[in-house]
């Protein structure tokens, strides 16, 4: 009975920019009708490169595509009273609204939570802001880099005495997007059985802090300050080393005796045969030396051979791959991870990254390619809100949509 949609029948208005777009995308992928409401000039993400074929155009931005697959889109200037009223009418039919404005901005537009709640008591409002809706920093400026810095994500990547290295991908935004989607699902579940909608206050800084496992627990629980140690994992069980044919991720997190016997068999164990190394705490405290010995052992060998043999011994070794190789990755290919998305207006199909999870009854699905600017104005404002073509023409001329 596949092809059911878990979130069919739910309507979400997505007023966010790049910072909050992930939450709506995750819900749209599972079947919610997510309507991206953009200002008439388009969401700023549409101006962000890279673009298809490097030709800048609001309908060719790849960041916009990535974050808005499966959504519909209308343009609406809700700074304008008429636009705000139309947005209110859309809200009457919605289950959730997601926004990522500066705190207080909706209020300035006359779209404050109390008013929304009065018009549609079942409505859930998810406010995604860099620092949340309260506190001394609520109006501070932030981008993903700032949030990575203030969540502890940044400080712990890189080498001692060298500048910290930023994450690949907008991970503070992604954490906020996933937690935003989780929060909306929780509010929906809480609403069942006659409850009303709630206002969700989500701090991106806090969400990103939940994306780092060891910094706060190390501080509160063990009085430790986590530092940068290159590719040596904080828990001491992994480090990158060089083989004759490139990098290899070494691991001491599998069975110690198995690894030791192997290295010993190659006559390369050096002092690791001494009894103190059988103590995991000792290995962790002296991880740098341990990995130096493993590097010596592996440096003239083939990493492919070591990685293969390690897996047969259940040792979690891996060869670090370039992201440029992912479209050809055998595991992703075997599971059909990349999906083909047709863009009829460009006469082409493109490969998109696909589902983060496989649901047996209500699978992740491709519903529609990312929306063109204002693509669903007629469908949503006309057919669904009942505005006549004539009136739409006037609204368009007045810059309302």
């Amino acid at each position: 009975m596949p092809n059911l949609s878990a979130l069919a029948g739910l309507r979400v208005l997505d007023l966010t920019d790049l910072r909050g777009a992930t939450a709506g995308r995750l819900l749209a992928d599972m079947g919610a009708d997510v309507i991206k409401v953009e200002p008439p000039g388009g969401d700023a993400t549409r101006r962000l490169g890279p673009f298809v074929g490097d030709r800048p155009h609001p309908d060719r931005s790849l960041p916009f595509w990535f974050y808005n697959l499966n959504k519909r889109a209308v343009t609406l200037d809700y700074q304008h009273a008429r636009g705000a009223e139309l947005l209110m009418r859309l809200m009457e039919s919605a289950d959730a609204v997601i926004e990522s404005f500066e705190p207080g901005h909706l209020e300035q537009l006359g779209l404050e939570w109390e008013r929304m709640h009065e018009r549609n008591p079942a409505l859930i409002l998810c406010s995604i802001a860099p620092f949340g809706q309260t506190g001394p920093w609520r109006e501070f400026e932030a981008d993903d880099t700032v949030l990575a810095a203030l969540s502890g994500m940044l400080y712990v990547n890189g080498y001692p005495n060298e500048p910290p290295v930023p994450p690949l991908g907008l991970q503070a935004y992604h954490c906020a997007g996933y937690y935003g989607a989780i929060a909306i699902m929780c509010a929906l579940l809480a609403r069942e059985g006659g409850g009303h909608g709630e206002w969700i206050d989500l701090s991106m800084q806090e969400a990103a802090a939940c994306g780092v496992e060891h910094v706060a627990p190390g501080y509160f629980g063990m009085n430790q300050i986590a530092r940068r140690r290159g590719t040596l994992h904080w828990a001491g069980g992994f480090r990158l080393g060089r083989c004759r044919d490139g990098w290899l991720m070494h691991s001491t997190s599998g069975d110690w005796t198995t690894l030791l016997e192997w290295v010993k068999g190659d006559g390369a164990a050096q002092d690791l045969t001494e009894p103190q190394w059988s103590d995991p705490a000792y290995r962790r405290a002296n991880a740098a030396h341990l990995f130096d010995v493993l590097d010596q052992w592996a440096k003239d060998q083939s990493r492919e051979e070591i990685a293969q043999r390690a897996q047969t011994l259940r040792l979690p070794y891996a060869i670090p791959r370039s992201i440029n190789d992912l479209p050809r990755d055998e595991q992703l290919t075997a599971r059909g991870y990349f999906v083909e998305v047709e863009h009829p207006e460009l006469g082409r199909k493109f490969l998109y990254p696909g589902a983060p999870y496989l649901f047996s009854a209500t699978p992740w699905r491709l519903y529609r390619r990312p929306p063109l600017l204002g693509e669903h104005n007629h469908e949503i404002l006309g057919a669904e809100l009942g505005i006549s073509d004539q009136e739409l023409t006037v609204l368009h001329a007045e810059g309302v949509c």
Partner: protein, 401 residues
């Protein structure tokens, strides 16, 4: 006000980090999460009372069951009949060997939701590979792509993969619960942590598949709105800690003017080589040298306050102490809740990054020791009599203290 997931019972076979990070989200929102564990303690850093394991397992219950004997599996099946969700993060074969896979469990609880968070999913050539966060980060490209200024791989010093697996697992669970509430239908969810991680790389993967462009490391490559200066700059030592940094993002022309004024309008800033964003990006090396000369005389916190006051996105690169003890925003929002340990000692841990109607879900209970809640589970959840418990003990399904 009841918590959103009150009344939901999760039978939690997960261990290490990714799985417990997922069930932590569910437990925090009110689900009754029962950890089913081996009696022998897993090797971890810290204890259930302090550090990562304390943080990941708060709000949960624990029973040790010997799954190697038929009576242990039978006991687990009885618990499945009383549960809504069964979660694990073993490699694919483990639950099958125990008769705890979805195909078996759906026979005894037709609407059960089974979520398996294995490293690579239940199909494909790598389905039985052993993996941890760093393995997955190596294979998905994060480790190499996050190169430092010298081009050395500097990918995550921690297991972001586990945290990404965690939020993906929690979202999957809440979506599946919603579907079941509306239709009565359970299902099996196959999460490959590898795919969950690849799914948060972001638009650069699309640039690769659409434009066939090899991706440069994020260090030199803006991932959102182009900015210059944009990056990490060294600050004045704080006491004997020389490892102090600030991030700065200067995007628009008005940002640049305010930034220059905040620096005290130094002579170099009027050089035509820095007049527009375009030339600042091109002359980035020279620009960064000037800015470092300025920041290295400043205290990181002072610099952040000064620049934020001028409306510039800037932030201290927080270390554990900044994050957990100094950050006034997280303090004001009480993001690090106090948890009382048995014996009355108090500690803090990470909070929940979203609040419903202004209220953060409280930490109701500190993490259980393995098997701590055995009697409660057997008596209160299953309603077993003393003689039935005796029989389980005799059959080797459960343990004495």
């Amino acid at each position: 006000m009841p918590l959103p997931l009150e009344g939901v019972r999760v039978l939690d076979f997960t261990w290490v980090v990714a799985g417990p990070a997922a069930t932590r989200v569910l437990a925090d929102q009110g689900a009754e999460v029962i950890k089913v564990e081996r009696k022998t303690t897993e090797f971890v850093i810290g204890t259930r009372r302090a550090g990562l394991m304390a943080d990941l397992n708060r709000n949960k219950y624990s029973i040790a069951i010997n799954m190697a004997v038929p009576a242990g599996v039978e006991l687990a099946h009885r618990l499945v009949r009383m549960s809504d969700i069964v979660m694990d993060n073993f490699s694919a074969r483990v639950m099958r060997q125990w008769g705890m896979d979805y195909a078996s469990l759906v026979q005894i609880k037709p609407d059960i939701i089974c979520i398996s968070m294995s490293g690579f999913g239940h199909s494909g050539p790598r389905t039985n590979y052993v993996s941890y966060g760093p393995t997955l980060q190596a294979l998905s490209g994060f480790t190499l792509q996050m190169a430092d200024e010298q081009g050395r791989p500097a990918g995550f010093g921690y297991s972001y993969a586990d945290m990404a697996g965690g939020y993906s697992g929690a979202l999957a669970a809440s979506i599946a619960l919603w579907h079941r509430r509306r239709t009565g239908q359970g299902q099996f969810i196959d999460i490959s942590q590898f795919e969950a991680l690849v799914s948060v790389i972001g638009p650069s993967l699309l640039d690769l598949t659409v434009n066939q462009r090899e991706q440069p490391p994020p260090r030199w490559h803006p991932q959102e709105v182009p900015a210059a200066p944009h990056g990490v700059y060294r600050c004045r030592p704080q006491g004997d800690d020389g490892d102090r940094w600030i991030v700065i993002s200067v995007r628009s022309h008005s940002d640049w003017r305010r930034f220059v004024a905040a620096m005290g309008s130094p002579q170099w800033a009027s050089d035509p080589a820095f007049r527009t964003l375009f030339v600042r990006m091109r002359n980035r090396a020279a620009l960064d040298r000037h800015i470092t000369q300025w920041t290295q005389e400043l205290d990181a916190w002072e610099a952040m306050r000064m620049l934020q006051k001028a409306g510039i996105a800037a932030a201290v690169v927080s270390n554990a102490e900044d994050l957990c003890a100094r950050d006034p925003q997280l303090k004001e929002r009480e993001f690090w809740p106090v948890v009382e340990l048995p014996g009355g000692e108090k500690t803090r841990m990470s909070g929940v990054p979203f609040r419903l109607s202004g209220v953060a879900a409280p930490i109701r209970r500190c993490a259980p020791q393995t098997d701590q809640d055995r009697d409660w589970v057997l008596e209160k959840v299953l309603g077993l009599t003393a003689s039935e418990r005796e029989a389980l003990l005799k059959a080797g399904a459960i343990y004495l203290d």
